[in-house]
Amino acid sequence: MAAKQAKKLELVVTKPSDREIAMTRIFDAPRDLVIEAWTKPELLKRWLYGPEDWLLTVCRIDLRVGGALRFEWHHKSGQAMGLSGVYREIGLPDRLVWTEIFDEDWTGGETLVTLTFIENGGKTTATQTVRYSSSAARDAAFQTGMATGMDQSYNRLAELLNSGA
């Protein structure tokens, strides 16, 4: 029973395209609860940590098209990590789409995140797809004009993520 449980709750990481990484996970709860847990700041703070010991201390969500989101994680050492974004699509209960960019900008530009919820027999499958932007190609430091090359770079990054190294 425990083994079966583990299988259905497994995190699946796939690469739908050269620039995307998707994570799929099944939750043993109805869709409306999963959506609530994913869109209410006081609930997000309960589970959306950064790396270990990085707590979500700031969480602001303006859940409408064009609305802003702001997340900040803090480590007990005093270090902080921040992320800002804008909601592009509010298609609940089926999907949410928003852009994200870290203050530190690790990913060379904005990423576009699509989150979908599908309910089946009282369980909910949530899929988060992160699409890396090619806007980095417009950045002064990357003026090589090799947009497809940039995709390949991110594909390599995705491969590294996928290998679970």
Binding site: L11, V13, V34, G50, A141, L157
Partner: protein, 129 residues
């Protein structure tokens, strides 16, 4: 530190150069030829990689030989492995939160029964179907 590594690697030619140097040190001319760049371009990329701590250079007679420094890449591998683990841990916490939320929902519906049975002894006539 990690940001510099990621930024250095997020450029296709530089990623190719790093992959190339995994097989051993090379002079800049060889790097340029293998990656398909003109030498000045290759030098420029190698300079960026050097500043990010990904490669180091030694001078051998007239040539500059570039070599990979494994530490930043190991750091990146570890970081990326952690990314997946971070999400796995987040989702496990979400499982726990959802169990709690389901419990609350169940308690709420127990507190407000929709079809309470009538107590015995009521005098209302039975409903006609």
């Amino acid at each position: 530190m990690m940001a510099a590594t990621l930024r250095a690697l997020a450029e296709p030619s530089r990623l190719q150069i790093v992959e190339l140097l995994r097989s051993g040190p090379r002079p800049v001319g060889s790097v340029a030829a293998k990656v398909g760049l003109r030498q000045p371009q290759a030098s420029k990329h190698l300079h960026v990689l050097s500043k990010a701590g990904l490669v180091e250079v030694r001078v051998d007679a007239q040539r500059r030989i570039y070599e990979l420094r494994p530490a930043p890449l190991k750091e990146l591998d570890v970081w990326l492995g952690r990314y997946r683990k971070i999400w796995e841990a987040n989702y496990r916490r979400l499982d726990i939160l959802l169990e709690e939320m389901k419990g609350k929902t169940a308690r709420k519906s127990r507190m407000r029964p929709k079809h309470a049975k009538a107590p015995a002894g009521r005098k209302r006539p039975a409903k006609r179907s």
